[in-house]
């Protein structure tokens, strides 16, 4: 498995005259498990969109292994190993779970342009599809249309699609949002089974999940990096408590 380091230098993004991301220097190293937290509207999703190429920065650079990828579009960055899930579920609603995952597998393995052989006869890709579906616990609904799944399971399908692309870097934008708290451990379990050298950036509001998952936490406030450190450091930082974490009912007490 190849690894990669994702980095931003002096990244800025404004919508019109409104600055949303200001001067962000950020590094995500191979194998890192980092959480990105911050209040709603802090710019976390926008930041992810800048990393994936979904949005272009107003100024600043995005680097992958020291190569400038600021000008590369989304599709090219995916091929270089930057995978993501969407905060707002984005699936193929009228296709089955299996078809959803196969589409990603076939693009990743370069067989999606094949006109002549039935998709089902592409054994290795079909097997990989079924393996991914099993990994996220959706085997029982493999032939169900994505739109008929409960929201929480749609989130899991999102993750399967992201994993199908063999990312070196995985950006998860609130993957557990909408998953009943009782089931959010499923997300944690999946994250735990990811290859160790994939770098993962997790955005989530579930502090329990964040503190159990992350080795490093970045706190973003109003488009800037406000604090960075280990979960212990972040939990102990009084400024962070003040602006974001508030009191200890988010599970902070348990983590510190």
């Amino acid at each position: 498995m190849e690894t990669a380091t994702l980095e931003t230098r002096g990244l800025n993004k404004s919508f019109g005259s409104v600055p949303v991301i200001t001067d962000v220097d950020f590094v995500l190293r191979p194998g890192e498990r980092r959480a990105l937290i911050g209040p709603n509207g802090a710019g976390k999703t926008t930041f992810v969109n800048l990393l994936t190429g979904n949005l272009r920065p107003t100024s600043g650079r995005v680097l992958l292994d020291d190569h400038d990828i600021t000008e590369l579009d989304e599709a090219r960055r995916i091929r270089q190993g930057i995978g993501r899930t969407f905060q707002i579920t984005s699936l193929f609603p009228m296709l089955t779970v299996r078809e959803n995952v196969f589409l990603a597998v076939s693009e990743c393995e370069g067989i999606a342009g094949n006109l002549f052989r039935s998709a089902l006869r592409h054994r290795p890709q079909i097997e990989r599809t079924d393996e991914l579906i099993r990994r996220v616990g959706l085997s029982d609904v493999a032939n169900t249309h994505a739109q008929l799944l409960p929201y929480g399971r749609q989130r899991l399908l999102e993750i399967a699609i992201a994993l199908a692309l063999r990312p070196k870097i995985l950006l998860l934008d609130e993957p557990a949002a909408g998953i009943p708290t009782a089931d959010s451990h499923v997300v944690l379990d999946i994250l735990a089974t990811l290859p160790k050298d994939i770098a993962v950036l997790l955005i989530d509001h579930d502090m329990d999940l964040v503190f159990r998952f992350a080795q490093q936490i970045t706190v973003m406030v109003q488009g800037s990096i406000f604090a960075q450190g280990s979960p212990r450091e972040i939990a102990a930082d009084p400024r962070v408590r003040e602006v974001y974490l508030g009191d200890s009912k988010h599970g902070l007490a348990a983590a510190s």
């Binding site: 599709a75 995916i78 699936l91 193929f92 589409l103 006109l115 089902l120």
Partner: protein, 332 residues
Amino acid sequence: MTAVSTSGPAYPAASSQLRRLALPLPWLATAALPLFLPGYEPLATQILVMIVFALSLDLLVGYAGIVTLGHAGLFGMGAYTAGILSVYGITDPLLTAGCAMLVAAATGLVFGWAMLRTKDLTLLMLTMASAFLLYEIANKATWLTGGEDGLQGVNFSSLFGTFAFDFRGITAFYYSLAVLFVVFLAVRALIASPFGWSLRGIRENSARMAAIGCPILKRRVIVYVISAALAGLAGALQAQATQFVALYSLSFELSGNILIMLILGGSGRLYGAFIGVPAFMFAQDLLAKQDPANWFLGLGIILIVLVMLAPGGILGIAERVMAAIRRRRGAA
């Protein structure tokens, strides 16, 4: 969770053996038609040709989600290519059909490459404009196309040098049936391929397809070119079966009619073309002759009812009925 998928081949159903055995039956029945309904061969041929045309349209509308109101432009390019070649002495049916496919595919490549960057209403307008353009060119170039009078002197030699296009239309009928069968197999294979699945992905959520690394414009152009080639083939068949090419073959009316036929039968369902075309043509034959003014009124009403109540067309209705029966059986 007991929901079942209604479209797309997932795991083959248990009844697939039965279905495989039943598949040749409609084809054999159709092949026997001249025995039972002598004199109806020309109408039957017309239906077969239109099914080929509708199948080519289904690839765009039903699978790739590209709604076009200019598909006759490609059909007409095929018809005129075959027809004009025959006027100039190249009369072999298969050779001219092949040329028709190439010319239509090239036309599809040029227009598709230019148009498919846009979508929705803009794309719909551009497809219409592209067909109007071709229609006007054919209308003006009377020295080549015969203009409004249609192309004169179309004459094809015998199929394989053996079967002449006879007055009753037997040769044209079996020729069209064979072509339709081959096109059907090709389209069926295409939609089952990874490429075919990716088309449905683009139809369902093109932003997401881009985000999994799919070269969307390229895929859409490829399917447009394939569809254009098949539409051109249908046009060539038409020219060969009727030994005539009229401006109608490039017209907006034909573009609209073929879209209605497909939607009537059910788009994105492979068999929709086989249901919608004959249903439309029989209705047209019955109603339009008796009462041409009210035919369009009736057509309008049928369309409104379809779009409002049964967006899946006749096949969509059948699927819902079958699902209801299965549910009742499951409950009992």
